[in-house]
């Protein structure tokens, strides 16, 4: 895959350089450029929200730093965790005294580093809580939910936590509602082509020209099955069956739906998928409250898409509807 880049080693810092040149009105960094925070952080009286993770997934993660969403984000190398002291720096900067909630995807490197950051922050009397995102149903069976990876569903977690914090929720309330949201969020993806980590220079995996991998993760982690590419309707139905089985909604339930492009897949194809998803949900007497169709959590130039279902209750609905504004995501 060809890239518009300079030295691969500089990929992340140059990307961040461009980011701050473009959005210096809204974003700032603290200590080092990998520690991205809202310009107005800390927001007095508000619980701080921080995330972190590898680069290569824009708008995830830093794209959700902004009003009504997150306060800060520690940015790692492509597909690699940031360090504990980067997360610590973010934590200190976004803490207004009401504590900081970490919300991020369940990957080993991130968990270890953010646990370290949390321990260090606590030494400085910052109350840190952690909510792990484990929405990828293809990564472990329901009995082992805690082993699941975190993928596009984290955007909904950011949204819910962000609204609750902005509305003045306590740290317990923010953690509580975010966990409740996550227990109602399920994602599954399909990949058609790999991506290339700039420093590695070759594709993360190989896949035949007429094959797809259902259930693949956003770093190219193995999915459930690799087989011949099928029609969009058929793939969508299969993913929806798996998601609905895992989520188990009841007739009349209200959902938010995200159809997320992994990178190379055109918006047109995401809308074709959404058309089918809408029909399948309608058949089952499930209502779509909001649809998010676009690129929300990517794997650089990977072709493919993921579907996220989010079952809403009244509070989750009003938090999802709450306004948000970041350089990459806005809703009014």
């Amino acid at each position: 895959m060809k890239k518009l880049i300079n030295q691969p080693e500089n990929f992340v810092i140059e990307c961040l350089g461009g980011l701050f040149k473009a959005h210096s009105d809204k974003l700032d960094f603290t200590e080092d450029i990998h520690c991205v925070v809202r310009k107005d952080a800390p927001i007095g009286g508000k619980v701080g929200l921080a995330t972190g993770g590898g680069s290569g997934h824009l708008p995830v993660f830093l794209g959700y730093v902004g009003k009504g969403m997150l306060d800060g984000c520690a940015v790692g190398d492509v597909f690699a965790s940031p360090s504990s002291d980067q997360m610590l720096a973010v934590t200190k900067r976004v803490n207004s005294g009401k504590g900081v909630v970490y919300i991020y995807g369940n990957y080993g490197g991130d968990v270890m580093n953010f646990d370290m950051a949390a321990e260090l922050a606590e030494l400085e009397d910052i109350d840190v809580r952690t909510v792990l995102v484990t929405d990828d149903i293809a990564s472990a069976p329901p009995e082992e939910k805690t082993r699941r990876r975190g993928v596009a569903g984290m955007v909904f977690a950011f949204k819910i936590a962000g609204a609750k914090a902005e509305l003045g929720g306590s740290i317990e309330e923010v953690v509580g509602v975010t966990e409740r949201a996550l227990s109602n969020i399920r994602t599954m993806g399909v990949a058609l082509s790999p991506c290339t980590v700039p420093m590695v220079g070759k594709p993360t995996f190989t896949i035949n020209d007429d094959d797809m991998e259902i259930g693949m993760g956003i770093h190219g982690e193995p999915g459930i099955t690799r087989e011949k590419l099928e029609s969009s309707d058929r793939i969508t139905s299969r993913m929806m069956n798996a998601l609905l089985k895992d989520l188990g909604p009841s007739k009349g339930d209200k959902l938010a739906v995200m159809v997320n492009g992994l990178g190379a897949t055109p918006l047109e194809e995401l809308y074709i998928m959404y058309g089918k998803i809408f029909d399948l949900l309608t058949e089952k007497d499930l209502r779509v409250h909001r649809a998010y169709i676009g690129e929300f959590a990517t794997s650089m130039e990977m072709a493919g898409a993921s579907i996220t279902l989010f079952r809403l209750d009244d509070e989750l609905t009003s938090l999802l509807d709450y306004h948000a504004e970041t350089p990459f995501f806005s809703q009014y």
Partner: protein, 209 residues
Amino acid sequence: MDVVISGKNVRESLIRVSDALFENADYLTSLDQKLGDGDIGITMTKIARTLKSYVTEQPFEDIGKSLVELGLVINRNAPSSIGTLLSTAILRAGKVVINKKEISTGDLAAMLDAANNGIKERGKSKLGDKTIIDALDPASKTFSELINEGVNLNDASMKALQSAEDGRDRVTGLESRVGRASWLGERTKGCIDPGAEVFVIILKSIIGI
């Protein structure tokens, strides 16, 4: 008569570790490609580079303090799973010998034990999960026992290495239960765990073979 290890000795062994990690980066990546995301070679190169530049600049006057600092710098430069675990190990090992200009074989045993416990705490994994622990834990136990029994450093080290290699090999046939590899399930059986192999390589180069 007890062997005494100086700051200079520690620096030299870390330089050997650095060289070994550079050399084995591609090999380790090939292991991680089967089990994980194939970035362990990048991590090892980052650690090797950090070791080389840190060790060159630092006198290792206070061995413990230097190691603690080194652990922090490694975390900053190589915060992947294995990078974070190794940085934790070095930091914990350093804490055991803070303020010391020389260390004894007993210190070494305590350092290895601290590293082992540090990785267990940080990674929350246990023996048999098929990780670095499966090489490190038996090596640490063997070394402590032998040093306690008065066996000399060289023999104790060689036996510890043997335990590490046995531990690594014992889990090769098992399923990975932790980290990225765990998502591969069945398909991990028969693949060498890259983290366990990293520990064997590090131990070998510390010993100097």
